[in-house]
């Protein structure tokens, strides 16, 4: 596979596209670099939009349908822009046994959304996770990347209400 084959132009002069290109170049623009490249895009932009998928698919010469298929198959990729705040509630076995369902229910109530959804104004997303690998600290909740051990429903509520109040 030639590196010099015509590559599509960068979607914009946003510097981050050059980093995306770097990932593809490192893999010789081989098709197998698709997942790696999408990880780079998601890391830089926070999500994969249509423009990004088209650009990556064209650069690696994979059908857009395949790029879309991969992007939707893996839970880690998101096709929507991230909310201002993210609340992850672990619903893995250890957390479930220690009452994670109540935490999730309380979070749904406070935010008024189901897991996987974002509040209408884009303030907060609620996510139910499989297992964060921190089962010793169960039930585990992650607020904007910060792990809260053995959280109570009340703590979850207070934290989320603070997010909502700030945005009001």
């Amino acid at each position: 596979m030639s590196v010099h084959a015509a590559q599509p132009p960068l979607p914009s002069d946003d510097k981050r596209w050059r980093i995306v290109n770097g990932t593809m170049r490192r893999h010789g623009h081989a098709r197998q670099a698709l997942i790696e490249t999408l990880h780079t895009v998601q890391e830089l932009f926070g999500y994969l939009d249509e423009e990004a998928l088209k650009f990556v698919a064209a650069s690696l010469r994979v059908p857009l349908s395949q790029a879309y298929g991969v992007a939707t198959f893996y839970h880690f990729f998101s096709l929507k822009p991230p909310a201002q705040h993210e609340c992850h509630v672990c619903m893995g076995t250890a957390c479930y046994i220690k009452g994670a369902a109540q935490l999730l229910a309380r979070a749904e109530e406070v935010l008024g959304v189901k897991p996987g959804e974002t509040t209408p104004n884009g303030t907060a997303s609620l996510l139910a996770e499989r297992c964060m690998g921190s089962c010793s600290l169960a039930p585990v909740t992650i607020f904007d990347g910060e792990v809260a051990r053995e959280a109570s429903a009340k703590q979850v509520q207070e934290r989320l209400e603070r997010w909502l109040a700030h945005d009001a």
Partner: protein, 547 residues
């Protein structure tokens, strides 16, 4: 790098550490880190700089008792401190080498520490995972050099076979046999893959090993590459483990720099390099054929076997896939010999197994025990039993592919065969303890929900069957089911187990079957009396309102 050079590095590192005075070690693995052990380390460093006493602060891997974190140890002397806060830093530094601080001390005399045997975790919590010299000083890479310079590839395969090591990823396939199959294939290109997708909920063994002693996994993979004749390795790590990913990248860089990885390793004709691949958060990608598809950049859906990856894996080439813990067991086996390893464990399950102990048990954390220890010893001695005066109900092993084992079988030894006889599996090592506040029907439904959501949808029995079984279990939980539903559930278990394409669907009925086997009265209570004795399910009236 020769053995002499390796020993020079080891000696230099040991001398420097001995001259540095007391060591105050802070766990920087994910559990403690999420409780800000990094800030704690900074506070300790600040104090150490002030103090007149000579002591050095180091960041290390997991010390095991995660539920008591952040953990700090002071060496030599083996003093361990629990739930340490930055405010405690001055007192800890002042007392290093003197009288231990009673109010923070965590006794090492308890069964949690005394009953364990460390092989895979022998360096965990003792060395800085981002310093290859420390791994080398702990006899790291000696096994690899021995293999590369004194043994033929066939002899390495033989050694692994004789050790009795079996795959730690769940199924327990004999590792030596798998290596032999790949070694015998006639192909110029072969691959070695380390499965670090660790998707079972309640399992964090691989995470801890990768964060605490990454070089060990690399060494195991290089030895495997030499034994089977591969020159390229992939480490497939789940994206949810950013710290493990970072430490692996550091470890690979360090190993390359010392010539332990790359072209002509240690001046031999053998070349091997490792690339990290990040998973995408799909449980099924832990299945070996799905994992291969994912490495090839595709959607991670499994395909029928045979052909097995050993014959046709990545790009159709022979591929050896083993779990993190399997690879992490290899360096010690090669270094200390198959006989030493095979002397541990039971006749058919040799060596040690790492378990992630969690749920309703006093000591949560990571443990390593010889195969054959009983469940009771693990849960009640090492784990300290069920807290808050509650009653033990079941222990779940094997994640969504496993089952729940009740009280009456707690004296069974833990090995591959006995757990299977009990209707569960060893699995990757998650052990979640449940007390009488858990409803076993609800737990079965919980796992079915997991399998339903994680089914890749490629084969119908799994895609549709898990959804149907989930619906039936929901009806039972809600008190809306009849005996007929239960009969249908049982026949669906048979069907889905027998006809699914991959292990996900084949094993999806296990949590249902095992809870039915031991807790059938709870199922019947939900159906007949519309009652949940644990008070978890909203049976009867409440459910009717919802439905």
């Amino acid at each position: 790098m020769t053995l002499e050079e390796l020993e020079r590095i080891a000696a230099g590192t040991k001398n420097a550490r001995a001259a540095g005075g007391h060591e105050v070690n802070v766990c920087l693995a994910a559990g403690c880190l999420s409780q800000h052990s990094d800030a704690l380390k900074e506070a300790l460093e600040k104090e150490a700089r002030k103090a007149s006493a000579s002591c050095r602060v180091r960041g290390t891997g997991c010390m095991g008792l995660c539920s008591a974190g952040p953990l700090v140890s002071v060496e030599p002397g083996g003093v361990l401190y629990r739930n340490v806060k930055p405010e405690d830093a001055p007192a800890i530094v002042r007392s290093a080498g003197g009288e231990p601080l009673r109010r923070l001390q965590c006794s090492r005399d308890q069964a949690f520490f005394q009953r364990q045997v460390h092989i895979v975790t022998e360096n965990s919590g003792k060395l800085d995972p981002e310093k290859i010299e420390e791994y080398i000083a702990a006899d790291g890479y000696k096994g690899m050099i021995r293999a590369l310079t004194e043994m033929t590839p066939a002899a390495v395969v033989q050694e692994i076979s004789r050790s009795g090591l079996r795959g730690r990823g769940g199924a327990g396939y004999p590792t030596g046999l798998k290596w032999g199959t790949v070694a015998k294939t006639d192909s110029a290109v072969k691959y070695v893959v380390c499965n670090a997708d660790e998707g079972d909920p309640g399992a964090f063994m691989d995470r801890s090993v990768l964060e605490s002693d990454p070089q060990r996994v690399l060494e195991g993979m290089i030895i495997a590459g030499y034994a089977v004749g591969a020159s390229r390795g992939y480490l497939y790590v789940r994206a949810e483990y950013p710290l493990a990913l970072k430490r692996l990248e550091t470890a690979i860089g360090e190993a390359r720099q010392l010539g332990l990885l790359g072209i002509n390793i240690c001046g031999t004709a053998f070349s091997f390099d490792i690339e990290v691949r990040i998973g995408g958060g799909a449980y099924v990608c832990g299945e070996e054929t799905a994992l291969i598809a994912s490495i090839e950049g595709k959607r991670g859906t499994p395909r029928p076997r045979p052909p097995y990856p050993a014959q046709s894996g990545i790009w159709g080439m022979p591929t050896l896939i083993n779990n993190v813990e399997t690879f992490a067991s290899v360096p010690a086996i090669v270094r200390r010999g198959a006989e030493w390893y095979a002397a541990l464990g039971t006749p058919k399950s040799k060596g040690t197994k790492v378990f992630a102990l969690s749920g309703k048990v006093k000591n949560n954390g990571l443990i390593e025990v010889p195969m054959g220890m009983t469940l009771r010893e693990i849960i009640f001695e090492i784990g300290g039993g069920v807290p808050e005066g509650r009653k033990f109900k079941a222990v779940q092993t094997g994640g969504p592919s496993g089952g729940c084992i009740p009280e009456q079988f707690l004296d069974r030894p833990v090995d591959y065969e006995s757990l299977r006889e009990l209707g569960s599996i060893m699995g990757s090592g998650g052990m979640v303890v449940m007390d009488d506040t858990s409803c076993m029907v609800n737990v079965a439904r919980f796992f079915m929900e997991f399998c339903m959501a994680e089914s890749c949808g490629k084969c119908i029995p799994c895609r549709a069957g898990t959804a149907q079984m989930h619906e039936m279990l929901t009806r039972i939980c809600d008190g809306r089911a009849t005996h007929k539903d239960l009969e249908m559930l049982i026949s669906l278990c048979d069907m889905v187990g027998a006809t699914s394409l991959c292990g996900l669907g084949q094993a999806a009925p296990n949590p249902v079957l095992s809870t039915l086997r031991y807790f059938q009265d709870e199922y019947l209570e939900h159906i007949e009396a519309k009652r949940c004795r644990a008070g978890v399910c909203e049976c009867g009236a409440a459910a009717e309102v919802r439905a």
